[in-house]
């Protein structure tokens, strides 16, 4: 199974090599949760602010229960304050 991982702003530094335009296709395991992906890519807590799957916001307390499914897009935003 594959999903798309999109990391924005400062978080894009955590994308593995091969990523283009802030995103990369990743293999996911059966029952692998959003929280597990966040851990797998070593995304620091302080930078994981908004998590959306296919455009739907996932609350912090739901990240461990929300499994990623084939073809879904996981988008993660850090806090942004630039002006």
């Amino acid at each position: 199974m594959q999903a798309k991982l999109k990391l924005f702003a400062s978080l894009s530094d955590f994308l593995p090599s091969g990523a283009q335009a802030n995103q990369i296709d990743i293999d996911i395991g059966d029952g692998e949760s959003v929280a597990a992906i966040i851990e797998r890519f070593h995304l620091p807590d302080r930078l994981v602010h908004l998590v959306l799957v296919d455009g739907v916001f996932i609350k912090p307390e739901d990240r461990a229960q929300r499994d990623l499914k084939d073809g879904e897009v996981l988008a993660i935003w850090p806090p942004v304050a630039g002006g």
Partner: protein, 256 residues
């Protein structure tokens, strides 16, 4: 409005959602703009062009060469000049109907209450979280709508926080004040020039809606813009019941 103004604002007056009454509200409006950089530039340009009567523009920084890729209020000839002052000069050439009060300082909890009190709408276009939290606190204490934008690299966000709407969250509902401080400076991360124009122009649009109609459709919603994929996403922003800034506002305002 005199004949010159009827002509100058005719393309707004033609819009039935603005009309003469709406344009008059714009002309008598006072908008506080925090930051005269990448976001503040399109905000001030569109608001001045549209005839907002008074703009108070705050910025403690001076214009430098690296700003000019995106900060369209400033000019090479004004490198070294304070950005609020540079903005005042630029706006004067655009529309004499718009009076600019330039505040050449980084404003904080000391200066903000008086500035916010005089404004009808506040625009957050600064580059740091401490200013953003200070502005949010004062807006919610004084009941003034806040149009907040941010842009870094290829990523932008915009929302409106309106303390007069019971269901509206505040900025601290989305970014709790006690979160670890982390600053994402354009100076180290870079920023795509037209991204600041996209977000800032949308901020100007919501300011005009607030002046004309008294409300913004963006209240309680956060728009997320990916300028690499040309994609927008949006999410609803609920109030945080335990938010220290806004949770008590219906039983008396929180202190500044």
């Amino acid at each position: 409005m005199d004949d010159r103004q009827l002509l100058r604002y005719s393309r707004h007056i033609l819009l039935k959602d603005i009309d003469i009454e709406g344009q008059e509200r714009i002309l008598s409006g006072h908008v506080l703009v925090i930051g005269a950089g990448g976001l503040g530039s399109p905000v001030a340009t569109y608001l001045a062009g549209a005839g907002v009567g008074q703009l108070t523009i705050c910025d403690g920084d001076d214009v430098d060469m690296t700003n000019l890729q995106r900060q369209t209020l400033h000019r090479e000839a004004r490198i070294g000049m304070n950005k609020a002052e540079s903005s005042r000069i630029e706006v004067a050439t655009l529309n004499p109907d718009c009076h600019v009060n330039a505040v050449p300082a980084r404003v904080g909890p000391e200066e903000l209450p008086e500035l916010v009190r005089q404004a009808d709408v506040v625009v957050e276009a600064s580059d740091n979280f401490s200013t953003r939290h200070a502005v949010n606190r004062v807006c919610f204490a004084l009941g003034k709508p806040l149009v907040s934008g941010a842009a870094i690299r290829f990523a932008g966000q915009i929302s409106v926080y309106d303390p007069r709407q019971e269901s509206s969250p505040c900025y601290a509902c989305l970014f709790p004040e006690d979160s670890p401080v982390y600053e994402d400076r354009c100076a180290s991360l870079g920023v795509f020039a037209p991204l600041t124009g996209t977000i800032g122009s949308m901020q100007a649009a919501e300011v005009l809606h607030l002046l004309v109609r008294g409300q913004s459709a963006l209240t309680g919603r956060l728009l997320l813009y990916d300028a690499l994929a040309a994609e927008w996403q949006e999410m609803d922003l609920p109030r945080r019941p335990d938010c220290p800034v806004c949770s008590e506002r219906n039983s008396g305002m929180t202190g500044i």
